[in-house]
């Protein structure tokens, strides 16, 4: 199957769409697909994966326009995957979802 990844965006980097071919291994998650692409095509792809059970929501993406938790949502042929919200984008589909955003420590501001 094929998926489309909306990439870029870190520090104003150009946003583009890349298409990748991934194997069909039965019911598998969007996260597995992102990991497959990062490992087999392009190691620079930023994606987030933590609990793999839909709890932490760190991996949240927009898939075919819908907000989905990537680790528990099956990937489907032709799926377009993009960051959940462009303004929160760190890189590619990685977004800042910290629950302590107000109390951030900065290495550069202080040292």
């Amino acid at each position: 199957m094929r998926i489309t990844l909306v990439r870029g965006g870190a520090d104003g980097a150009e946003v583009r769409q890349d298409e990748y071919e991934i194997p069909d291994e039965g019911l598998a998650s969007i996260s597995s697909a992102l990991q497959y692409v990062a490992r087999n095509y392009d190691g620079s792809i930023g994606y987030y994966l933590s609990c793999r059970r839909g709890m932490c929501a760190c991996c949240v993406v927009r898939a075919n326009g819908k907000i989905e938790t990537a680790c528990v949502t099956p990937v489907t042929d032709g799926m377009v995957i993009e960051p959940v919200k462009a303004t929160l984008r760190v890189k590619d589909t990685v977004v800042d979802l910290s629950m302590a955003r107000e109390n951030q420590f900065s290495f550069t501001a202080e040292g």
Partner: protein
């Protein structure tokens, strides 16, 4: 150069409680996590229990506890479950303080879904909660106490000088810049290393970072051979792989599901005829793997779990009994929709299950104040070893992180209020920086993720539920060859520093490789079976092995030694 009083590494429950406590003492506290605050770490994966003795549940927390229970009974069950390798002082501290940690959380709105009765506990002691809600409350409290945070900062090393801790080094994953930060104390709360196994329940980030940092800083590890596998996790499809839902709607909720081999035999009769499927996690895991090894398993490398002998009503009522909102009547559990699976079960189909790597009983060797052998270095939560001995009972991980987080925060505050601010040794920082950046600067070499898979393969073949001497010796040879060879030649194909997965993988491989070697070395010298450590070449528990295994790193080489179990009666 900036400095702080206390650095906490890791944002699971243990780290958040430690940060809150240290900040409450008026100290300058920074919590660093390679994940995201309030979301990362194994705490987020809990839809489970905090163990408290029944009398405290009833009389102190005001919930439905069994008054016949006592802290002494809870202690005895924990020690029995741990095959008496537990550090007695750590167990006592956990049992006597968990109630006072839980009460303010309940007052802050933590919802209790019920009181569970899990195998190994003689009384219902499992206060059922949601880990994500717990994280929200703990984050709020730590923020209110004045702690500061930095998400997506991967601490790779503890820095030190001849006197003790001087700070940390790590990578800001968002910018890709390496930084050091001086501190009087560092609290490690980075969790375990379930990710060294290909089939596991824990989150991706648990690769053993803290074990590597602690060893390299000069601290010791204890009981590393004791790795808990959670039985009855789903084998297929890939989307559900490693998820313990069958365990939840089986033994964990006291529902009498049957474990069957390919001949339909209820094989637990051969391993624990009295408790059968209600046996402890270690015994069920061993039984399941032995059935497979002896040729009686299913097509996916597991065994079968069946509810077909039960009337459908019992399953239908389960969400009501086991506790909303953790198990919902729509059969949504955690992030999954398990309606298709429940429908299949009701049609009489069995589900193929296998044990998944779940928890490290072993870890950084701490004293009752969460201190290590290194002045200024503390550890709490799953990364800290010794409290669970050879096997952990359900719910005791949560009791551990709440109590130890508090103790570590308090100890750090005490240490930091009298210690002078150390200065980072320039040579130490330069050396660590060069190591951290090497994969990024190398122009060719080995892809880190291929090594991650190789390490998982070694652990899966040689350090699984059923072990034996020749297998482990082979595993040890392989991991040492890997560490001396490919691990030194890792490179990041992508040179983009920002959120670079190749580069992150390279750091994680270092942690996983050293952890696997520490586990293998500890396991190979324990020539008996005890708790989670089961060997088919030494199937019995032996009194002469009633000791703890300690690992240290001397001149770049791991060493093991045996030490007497502190403060508990010989069994």
């Amino acid at each position: 150069m900036t400095n702080v009083d206390v650095i906490v590494v890791g944002s699971g429950a243990a780290g958040l409680v430690a940060a809150e406590e240290a900040a409450k003492h008026g100290l300058n506290v920074v919590l660093l996590t390679k994940g995201q605050v309030g979301r990362s770490g194994a705490t987020a994966t809990i839809t489970g229990d905090i163990s408290v003795d029944g009398k405290t549940i009833r009389n102190y927390l005001g919930l439905r506890g069994n008054e016949g229970d006592s802290d002494r009974d809870f202690y005895d069950d924990t020690m029995t479950g741990g095959a008496y390798l537990n550090q007695s002082a750590l167990v006592q501290s956990m049992i006597s303080h968990v109630g006072e940690e839980l009460k303010p959380l309940l007052e802050a709105g933590l919802k209790v879904a019920g009181i569970g009765h899990a195998p190994g506990h003689r009384f219902p002691r499992g206060v059922l909660i949601s880990g994500m809600q717990l994280l929200q409350i703990l984050t709020r409290r730590a923020v209110a106490a004045g702690a500061r945070f930095r998400d997506e900062f991967y601490v790779t090393d503890v820095l030190r000088n001849a006197d003790g801790v001087t700070g940390i080094a790590g990578i800001d994953l968002r910018t890709g810049e390496a930084h050091s930060l001086a501190a009087k104390t560092v609290i490690l709360a980075t969790g375990g290393s379930a990710m060294i196994h290909p089939f596991r329940t824990a989150p991706e980030e648990l690769v053993g970072d803290g074990y590597r940092m602690a060893l390299r800083a000069g601290a010791e590890l204890i009981d590393m051979e004791m790795v808990q596998f959670l039985p009855c996790c789903l084998v297929n499809p890939p989307l559900w792989r490693g998820i313990q839902f069958p365990w939840i709607i089986g033994p964990q909720s006291s529902t009498r599901a049957w474990l069957l081999n390919r001949y339909g035999e209820r094989f637990m009769a051969r391993y624990d005829p009295e408790r059968m499927e209600m046996s402890t996690r270690d015994k069920i895991s061993i039984a399941c793997v032995r059935e497979v090894q002896e040729g009686r398993g299913g097509p996916g490398g597991g065994v079968f779990m069946s509810w077909a002998h039960l009337p459908h009503d019992i399953l239908e009522f389960l969400p009501k009994w086991y506790g909303k909102p953790l198990l919902r009547e729509t059969w949504h559990w955690e992030g999954f929709d398990f309606r298709p699976l429940i429908e299949r079960i009701k049609q009489g189909y069995a589900v193929e299950v296998a044990p998944a790597s779940h928890f490290n009983m072993g870890g950084v060797r701490i004293d009752a104040e969460c201190g290590t052998a290194v002045p200024g270095l503390l550890a709490c939560g799953e990364i800290a070893g010794g409290v669970h001995g050879a096997n952990r009972l359900s719910g005791n991980a949560c009791s551990q992180f709440l109590v130890q987080g508090r103790i570590a925060g308090r100890s750090a505050a005490q240490f930091a209020s009298s210690a002078p601010m150390p200065e980072i040794d320039a040579a130490d920082w330069k050396e660590k920086l060069a190591e951290v950046e090497a994969p990024l600067l190398a122009s060719d070499g080995v892809q880190p993720h291929t090594l991650a898979s190789q390490i998982q393969d070694i652990a899966n073949r040689t350090l699984n539920v059923v072990r034996n001497g020749s297998n482990m010796a082979q595993g040890l040879r392989e991991i040492r060859a890997l560490r001396a060879g490919e691990v030194t030649r890792m490179f990041s194909a992508s040179k983009d520093r920002r959120y670079n997965r190749n580069w992150i993988d390279a750091q994680e491989v270092q942690s996983a490789a050293l952890t696997v070697e520490a586990i293998a070395m500890s396991a190979v010298i324990r020539e008996e079976s005890r708790g989670a450590h089961y060997r088919d070449d030494f199937r019995e528990q032996k009194p002469e092995f009633h000791h703890n295994t300690v690992v240290s790193l001397k001149d770049g080489t791991l060493q093991t030694r045996r030490v007497a179990v502190a403060g508990n009666e010989t069994k």
